[in-house]
Symmetry: C2
Subunit: 190 residues, 2 copies
């Protein structure tokens, strides 16, 4: 039951963000009364904290599946992640974006505690991409002077902008174009 | 009165987005009763349509002030715009972002008519940046093979991601770092 509520929250927050998501909408697909919600969670904010944690785990495993795939070259692994994420967005008609992007956009109306939680998740994603860029650099696919830490930070900035634009245009063009251009910078032709 | 309501709406939508902005909150700083709102606007959606138009005009004039400044080199004009926008965000404690970014993020819960209106504004911003990049190219500051149209599209993708991140981190670091990296690509050292 608890897991079903978290799952429902993850879907709704990924699609609509915090402000547009009421507790009733979270309960509806799970089919439980409001009292049950407060049995598991003390407040909407405590619930959202747990939803962010669950999303962070879900997304880290998506990243690992592609970025740690030893059968692919490091830069191709990043493209694989982008393709998988683009397919995921297409599957839901480009209505669902990034839960962190939605909450970050709404930050001025959210509790301060969310800020640090979201920043920590971005830092985690950043380190995963940095590791992959570093592997590309070691194999000579990326310029030895490229600042992989800085690139990883900029990757998620561009990614969030691309996801936002993909929701608007309802195509994966922003995601694909961003990834291609991002990886073209500092890339050493093979 | 009408202009004051539009101004109040622009401030609130830039800070909180659509879902978190009720008509009462728009009326409050202006100090008019709800009936007056419906005298000027038939609905919240019609009001927001006009707020987007007003924001589009406001932002186009900010862009023009910097991008058409003949006293500066074309690429420096883009940095000037970034600096001015970063100062604007700092002035409001990084609570206010981009009205278009906020609405784009909320797109799945908004009327379809907003989609086309927002896309048209992005297309307008894109053409203004493209013109400036083209001027840089003609003066030999940007590689002659650089695809300025594609760069202009990617500029606004990265920009929206950077604004989102600046709201989260409450610093202008994402804006400055994004602009520096973006313009470093294809730039010809002087």
């Amino acid at each position: 039951m608890r897991a079903s509520l978290i799952r429902s929250g993850m879907e709704l927050l990924t699609e609509r963000g915090y402000s547009a998501t009421g507790i009733d909408a979270i309960l509806k697909p799970v089919g439980v009364p409001k009292g049950s919600f407060y049995y598991y969670f003390s407040s909407k904010d405590e619930f959202v904290t747990q939803v962010i944690d669950a999303y962070s785990e879900f997304f880290a495993s998506l990243l690992d599946r592609h970025l740690l795939n030893e059968e692919r070259q490091p830069l191709d692994r990043i493209f694989d992640f982008v393709d998988a994420a683009a397919e995921g967005m297409a599957r839901y008609g480009f209505r669902r974006g990034c839960l962190l992007g939605n909450l970050g956009q709404e930050m001025s109306t959210l509790p301060e505690s969310f800020r640090f939680q979201i920043e920590a998740v971005f830092a985690d994603w950043e380190s995963r991409i940095a590791l992959c860029l570093h592997a590309a650099q070691q194999r000579g696919a990326l310029s030895s002077t490229a600042d992989t830490a800085s690139m990883a930070y900029l990757f998620w900035i561009g990614w969030e902008g691309a996801v936002l634009r993909a929701k608007l245009e309802q195509t994966d063009r922003p995601l694909k174009l961003f990834a291609r251009e991002f990886l073209a910078t500092n890339k050493i032709p093979t």
